[in-house]
Assembly symmetry: C2
Homo-oligomer: 307 residues x 2
């Protein structure tokens, strides 16, 4: 089924304890779309870049069957740029530079051929832009998934809550879930966020995996235990891409199938951290992905059913 993604397409400069990069392709929209492309062959990407954005990077997206007609190229402007440095404890990072550039006055255009897609992924972005994309669809998608972050909770909570009220699934990390809900346990946080609108809540816990709440049920997906994460940039977006890509491919939004989608997201995120930026998720093969799925099966399967 068709999948439309909105999210940033950007330049990132990253430093981790294992190395550093100059400006490379980044942005939530990039990670989501690339990750989803391994599941779904009908992906539309809505974003904005400046005229400095290399054609090679656009070609890379196209090569992954991503339709880029929804990416506006702003003449005379520069592309959104983020520079960050991870600490030795890679759960902590410093933002060294954020240049909004072309993102500053982003007015998302939803091409008419995108307006009837059944699956809509709102990558982390201004809540207003996320909402505008929903409003500019011709029909309400079958499933709307949103990702967001603490930054929007800090500076425009009411705006954010309005967008949250319009989606089916929200994907956030554990600290953000606690901040958004004001609750200190994830079960309580999920209940409060559920009352804000979304039927399903995904809480990402980094190296501890992810929880899916919905329909009074809960599913726990592990993260793949790793010797080290080379670069966690984009892991959450890559997760979201695998999640919605799998749902769009299978066109089944039952809780049971969302469990599979959470594993698909976890599988993709486990690859993402193996190299810098998008390096790993642009080169994957179906065989590699299936082998990784088998690892998640091994990691979680037990056969005891009673004492």
């Amino acid at each position: 089924m068709g999948l439309t993604v909105v999210g940033t397409v950007a330049f990132d400069a990253i430093e981790t304890p294992y190395g550093k990069t100059d400006k490379i392709i980044g942005g939530a929209g990039t990670y989501v779309a690339l990750s989803a492309s391994y599941f779904n062959k009908d992906i539309n990407l809505i974003s904005v870049v400046g005229e400095d954005f290399p054609q090679d990077y656009l070609d890379l997206l196209k090569k992954h069957n991503i339709d880029i007609n929804g990416i506006q190229i702003k003449e005379g402007e520069k592309t959104f740029f983020w520079k960050g440095k991870y600490h030795k404890d890679m759960n902590v990072r410093d933002t060294l530079a954020t240049e909004l550039n072309s993102l500053e006055n982003f007015d998302p255009v939803v091409p008419s051929e995108y307006q009837n897609t059944d699956y809509l992924m709102l990558g982390n972005l201004t809540p207003l832009v996320q909402r505008q994309v929903i409003e500019r669809m011709k029909k309400r998608p079958k499933l709307i998934v949103m990702d967001t972050m603490n930054f929007w909770m800090d500076i425009m909570l009411d705006e954010l809550k309005e967008t949250i009220s319009m989606v089916d699934v929200i994907s956030i990390n554990d600290e953000e879930a606690q901040q958004l809900s004001g609750k200190n346990t994830l079960v309580k946080a999920a209940k409060v966020i559920h009352a804000m609108g979304p039927k399903y809540i995904i809480i990402k816990k980094g190296e501890h995996g992810a929880l899916l709440f919905g329909e009074g049920k809960v599913f726990s997906a592990p993260a793949l235990p790793l010797e080290y994460a080379f670069d966690p940039t984009g892991a959450g977006d890559t997760f979201a891409g695998g999640f919605i890509g799998y749902l769009a491919k299978t066109n089944d939004i039952s809780f049971e199938n969302m469990k599979n989608a959470v594993i698909a997201g976890s599988v993709m995120a486990s690859f993402n951290v193996e190299k810098f930026g998008t390096e790993r998720i642009v080169e994957l093969t179906e065989k590699e992905i299936n082998e990784r799925i088998a690892k998640f099966v091994e990691l979680t399967t037990f056969n005891m059913r009673k004492i």
Copy 2:
């Protein structure tokens, strides 16, 4: 199969954000043996108490098919006492009092009828006492599991390492694994600890579940997501009791069956935190345990096998 447990039998006084208790029965040996008693009907407990230890508490252990001939009752001495207070973030607790009392010069006696048991659980205790129990067995048990804590790493690391070198499975929490190994990721920590002797490493992550490493494989068990933990005291010991109790019952120490045992431990720990001290784990029914196992199945099962 026979299971011998060594560990403290003690008085605890506990304060959590949800309430407080006077002196109640506690101690690693108590939690391990009670938890294991739901799986195995042939349990021996080696410990020491003072003459102030109530007969009612000893009867409670006996009622759970726990042989208490191995519990020394020291005349003129008092029972080990621990008093602690949990913070609002219940991962943090303050120890308000520790009175070693009868534990101070504990010289463990292993009754002859215990000396041939196939399964031996060394609950958290002085590493020397743990080792003495191994040495006082007539034959080397089929499986020796040990639990320990950071306290022993701080004050007698060499002694601890000697005991670690003699066991098959070690169960510790994530911070302790990092302290013991000097490594910052759990995969690296498990490798270092494996090189110290144990073939299998269990790393407990509290609300994030537990990891089992061994034979080059890894298994991830979730914790049951809870609205709140009423009292986490003894959760790690209860986990260990479910783990070894299940292995002794099934008498199968393959990695595949250890996965089941880790779930058995997680199931028991999920009950333990629901009430103060041992209150919950003394009253469980087989039906309740089987229903909780079903929850863990629901929590972890997905059916995707390829993209």
